[in-house]
Point group: C2
Chain length 395, copies 2
């Protein structure tokens, strides 16, 4: 990774001229004179944030939308991801004329702290030692990810975000923005998300972490000192997680008990079934694009997530006097972050008289629905943002 | 393991005198002159079956009940397990005066083929080579497990079982008895089970197998030639599986987000949460009592399970003209083998005019409910067996 310091004036000029529109993300070094104080009490100074932007920031700087990515996501939400060569992960939501209209809004998508696409994380160089952090990277929280994003909008000279939008762990960041930085957010759109990680959520993550740490190639987190990588463990972690992203129905519809390139059972331990072959592929292809230590750090941040914790466990108190307008969506077949969890947020918001609209979308693809072609979701985001843009005079 | 050949007369004498009532299981060597033909086409000859009995076989030999165990179960369904020193796994269902009344019935519980408590499996000695089987053990199916049990009752001189009872994979064996050996079974009680392994079921098992095979100590299945065991991989497999045995609600009720022996988050990768500590314990304690290769074989057998496969996918045809009376139970919170899957069996049985009673039991403990203190389940089994005993003149 190359960290570059960006001259604010030059940056503003670039933004005005809308030239940050393709290719690699910008990487900005933040917190040099103003450390990021983490939930753990530790400080990060300096730290880098890699991010992509689309669209143009208006003169009032009132049209900025922050897109927050999920566990294994990155800043390449739309356009080609220059690292993988694949299309970004939310191409049908964000773009010219789409729900998050880049002709109208200035859209920012940062890589989260602790991840591995350019923002500070365990695989990046610790500026204090000149070596990779590994497990010396401090354990971070969702609040810390958002803390780094706050410093990013400070750096970009944006006082208030028009909206913060994200699914899954992205939705957790949205919730933290809305609760802990409520004066800096106009609207919040958490999708397929929750207000705290449940025991089952923690349990699945713990299986993944144990799979990684059980791999001898993990090498106590210092695999970057060797030629080997804990690919086997990371692959198993991804396989276990991937099951939770799909519904039983979608797995059955997609694969059923169909056999993989064979007429009958082989009575062996090869991938006889399509679903086995698919899962193995998910595991193997994942290790090429993701860092095992980042997987540990980010799952940990998610497990630590409980938006009510700072409010004596009262979700209602977390939302008291909120000026933020919420648009919350869940999916019928999502068993990882269920509709009931979204409803709990909605009930707490209603109890304090907050503005909230909520839709449970009928879709059978499980948790991953938010990443798929979901016209209902696109329409709801589009309508909600348009109504608010009209009120705010954003054209 | 020591395989012993049992003299039939001596055995009958022992049974009559009801002296096989404690301590280690009997182990019988079967199929010497009459090989067990497996689903794969291979043959096992000879093979051993370890089993426990309780109660006394009546003179008509009409009061025998077969208990089928689940994936990681064994023949020690009641009384002390002499290997672990712990109580058997169904102590409140089976015993004097209980639902499966050992004062009234002769109860047999065999260790399944492929397992590791004395029946032939990958850790046992291949009589043809004098070495442990390892992956040379043939891949077996639920039908093969039942095939070995058929040979066991032949050996015991029992023509027809009064009942076959089992939960989870035990229920799959019950289904196979009822479909493929219907003339030898009077009643069948499958609990918390299914008629075929779903894509999601297969997916979870594949994660477990990959975790084991990713462990370098697995050594291509030949770890018994080394001092090492694939404990890390087997432990991860068990952890992943264990989550599926509990409901989200029961995990939340039991652990919630409670911390383990600490006041606050430690910002590290130790087990901060009770649920993590519990899962790790489940993994670690499992490896002492279970063989990694057996885990591969038995999960494979479960994945291959589809009771309709031999009937062109028609569950209804599988049950045509069945003389067996069914009593089927499911649990509201079981998301591994759901009530809907039991209902599919019930609907097919009703369609062919079979005798079937079905109860969905309200219990919040998930799939593991069948192993827990469940008075409703005990009452239903008791009532069903009593009614049939009265019809059959069993006192």
């Amino acid at each position: 990774m190359i960290t570059v310091e960006i001259n604010k004036e030059a940056m503003t000029e670039k933004l005005k001229n809308n030239i940050i529109d393709d290719g690699f993300a910008e990487v900005v070094l933040l917190g040099k004179d103003d450390p990021l104080r983490l939930s753990s009490g530790e400080e990060l100074s300096p730290f880098s944030v890699a991010y992509k932007c689309w669209g143009t920031l208006n003169d009032d700087k009132t049209n900025a939308i922050m897109i927050c990515h999920a566990l294994t996501g990155d800043q390449y939400a739309r356009g080609e991801n220059p690292i993988t060569g694949k299309e970004g992960w939310w191409p049908k939501l964000i773009g010219p004329g789409l729900a998050v209209d880049t002709d109208k809004y200035f859209v920012i998508c940062p890589n989260v702290l602790g991840s591995c696409s350019g923002s500070s994380g365990p695989k990046e160089i610790n500026p204090k030692t000149g070596e990779a952090y590994g497990l010396d990277f401090p354990v971070i929280t969702i609040a810390d990810m958002v803390g780094s994003q706050v410093k990013l909008i400070d750096h970009l000279g944006i006082d208030k975000l028009f909206s913060v939008i994200g699914g899954s762990m992205g939705g957790m960041q949205v919730m933290h923005w809305a609760v802990s930085h409520k004066e800096r957010v106009r609207t919040a759109i958490p999708i397929a998300s929750t207000w705290r990680h449940s025991a089952q959520n923690i349990a699945f993550h713990e299986v993944g972490r144990q799979a990684i740490m059980a791999d001898p190639n993990w090498h106590g987190g210092r695999y970057f000192e060797t030629e080997l990588r804990p690919h086997a463990g990371l692959s198993v972690a991804r396989m276990a997680a991937h099951i939770t992203y799909m519904s039983e129905g979608s797995l059955m519809a997609k694969f059923g008990r169909n056999l993989q390139d064979r007429e009958k059972l082989t009575f062996g331990f090869d991938a006889d079934f399509q679903v086995e072959s698919y899962l193995r592929h998910q595991g193997i292809s994942f290790v090429d694009r993701f860092d095992a230590n980042s997987y540990l750090y980010i799952t940990r941040a998610m497990d630590y997530y409980d938006i009510s914790a700072e409010f004596d466990g009262s979700l209602r108190r977390a939302f008291e006097n909120t000026p933020v307008k919420f648009c919350i969506m869940s999916f019928t077949s999502d068993w990882l972050y269920t509709t009931e969890e979204s409803r709990e947020i909605v009930r707490a918001l209603n109890a304090v008289g907050a503005q909230v609209s909520f839709v449970e979308i009928e879709m059978d693809k499980g948790h991953d629905s938010f990443l798929l072609d979901c016209p209902d979701m696109f329409k709801i985001v589009s309508g909600f943002l348009k109504a608010e843009a009209q009120l705010s005079g954003i054209k």
